[in-house]
């Protein structure tokens, strides 16, 4: 019973839309309209092409011939007939649908129809499955075909020649760069750029040789540029060490005119801004000049006195050794003398 109930629900059709009834006839009408439209366009294009391009023919803007007029008239009649036939088919389809709907209310008929509906549903499902499988196969085929075809086309296209033929200068002249920059989301763009990889591929020296820096700088509005560039984020992404490895610092310094650079620095103005008074005071506070003088003179005196004392000490030892040897006395003299009471004889 559950099955029957389920199928009874399934066979109930949704009410058709008023403006575009979902009937076979309506679908056929749309298909026919489309086909006829396409055929008409193709026919017109073919005719026009033959008229213009066929060797020896001249475009004829005069009145159409009788044959063409008849052909057009026949087309009109055929279209009218097709429209009528489709109207009739649609009417019949709607009547049949209405009849089935009405008959379904009779229990016996409904049971029969339920069986038929179940059969129809099964076959419909089978049809859906089969067509789905074929659709997938076709899509796979196309997915493989399109790249292959694209590759084949690209292989046959002479890109350099094509590029040479492009009016690049005119294209660039036509580009509204400020507007383009306004539309660019630079930070997001930078997130997607692998700067290190790009830098690896750039021959910096060769680029610098070709760049007229002054001309570039003349065209740049620094404030606007800096406003748009997230400098911190940019620096985060740049491997500074790797960049420095690639930059020939010596070569760069060779190109820097230091004298000219210094000539532009206003040293007087710079010094005028420095308040020397407090600096000198601090230096004098930190440096104990008196102490330095005392220490230096004291150390000179001490050094001289130490020298004299050490010399006297050596002579003491020398005399003592001679005397001890003469008297055949062994050992160092005065070892048993008590140590001094002072503790600051640190070496």
């Amino acid at each position: 019973m559950d099955d029957i109930t389920t199928h009874a629900v399934r066979v109930r059709t949704l009410p058709a839309r008023r403006d575009e009834p979902d009937t076979v006839a309506a679908t056929a009408r749309r298909g026919a309209d489309l086909g006829i439209g396409a055929a008409t366009l193709a026919s017109r294009a073919l005719t026009s092409t033959l008229d213009r391009l066929w060797p020896g023919s001249t475009p004829d803007h005069g009145a159409p011939s009788i044959t063409r007029r008849v052909a057009r008239a026949a087309t009109g009649a055929a279209l009218a007939t097709q429209s009528r036939l489709l109207d009739a088919a649609e009417t019949m389809e709607q009547v049949a649908h209405q009849t089935v709907t009405t008959a379904r209310r009779v229990p016996v008929v409904r049971d029969v129809l339920v069986g038929i509906d179940a059969s129809i549903d099964r076959w419909s499902e089978r049809a859906d499955a089969e067509t789905g499988r074929r659709e997938e196969a076709t899509l796979e085929f196309l997915a493989a075909l399109v790249p292959a075809m694209t590759q084949a086309v690209l292989e046959r296209v002479d890109l350099p020649t094509l590029v040479q033929q492009l009016p690049l200068a005119e294209i660039i002249a036509a580009v509204d760069l400020p507007a383009l920059l306004d539309r660019l989301d630079v930070p997001t763009l930078l997130d997607h750029v692998d700067l290190d990889a790009i830098l690896d591929r750039i021959d910096v020296d060769a680029v610098l040789d070709h760049v007229d820096v002054n001309r570039v700088l003349d065209r740049v509005d620094p404030d606007r540029l800096l406003d748009r560039v997230g400098v911190d984020r940019l620096l985060d992404r740049v491997g500074v060490d790797r960049l420095l490895d690639r930059v020939g610092v010596d070569r760069l310094m060779d190109r820097v005119d230091v004298e000219r650079l210094l000539a532009r620095v206003d040293l007087d103005a710079m010094m005028a801004q420095v308040d020397l008074g407090p600096i000198v005071d601090r230096v004098l506070d930190d440096v104990d000049i008196g102490g330095i003088v005392r220490e230096s003179t004291g150390s000179i005196t001490t050094d001289a006195m130490d020298g004299a004392r050490i010399s006297a000490m050596r002579l003491d030892g020398f005399v003592a050794r001679i005397v001890d040897r003469t008297l055949l006395r062994s050992g160092n003299r005065a070892r048993d003398v008590s140590p001094p009471p002072f503790e600051d004889h640190t070496p």
Binding site: D316, R329, P341
Partner: protein
């Protein structure tokens, strides 16, 4: 202000040991010079007093030899005795980095210091006993149980003298 470092390692090691003949002779020579200066100053002072009293002709007169000998002997005793009994040093010993102590390492009391000075000033050759003495002792060291050591420290003796260690 006290000295705390001695850069020469051998000098540092010799601190506290008895001083030899050369150091002590040099110190005595300096002291002899100092005594002469003091004695000359005394002569100047006497001349000044005489000038103030007699009011004519400022001259420094050389006293007769006996007065000179006795006077200088007296100056030596007073000079040496006062130095040894206070800091254990005279000017000469200060320059040479020496100090006079008792045999057991204490500062000299004034009586012993002046008695030692008396003997020293009366018999200079007693100093030569240092040459043969195993303890670098002069005759007055032996007589009064004193010693003269290398001591480059600048700490006053009254602050640093501690108990004897031997």
């Amino acid at each position: 202000m006290s000295r705390t470092t001695i850069r020469d390692p051998r000098a540092a090691a010799a601190q506290g040991t008895p001083a030899g003949i050369v150091s002590r002779l040099l110190a005595n020579a300096i002291d002899f010079g100092v005594v002469w200066i003091i004695y000359f100053a005394i002569l100047i002072a006497v001349a000044a007093v005489r000038f103030l009293v007699e009011r004519h002709g400022f001259r420094i007169e050389a006293p007769n030899p006996l007065v000179t000998v006795v006077g200088q002997w007296l100056v030596v005793v007073l000079y040496l005795g006062s130095g040894w009994s206070t800091t254990g040093r005279t000017v000469g010993k200060t320059v040479l980095g020496l100090r006079v102590l008792t045999a057991d390492g204490k500062p000299l009391a004034p009586p012993r210091a002046f008695a030692r000075a008396l003997l020293c000033a009366s018999f200079y050759p007693g100093l030569l006993w240092i040459i043969v003495s195993p303890k670098n002792a002069a005759l007055h060291d032996v007589a009064f149980r004193t010693q003269v050591i290398y001591d480059w420290s600048t700490v006053p003796i009254v602050e640093t003298a501690g108990p004897a260690t031997s």
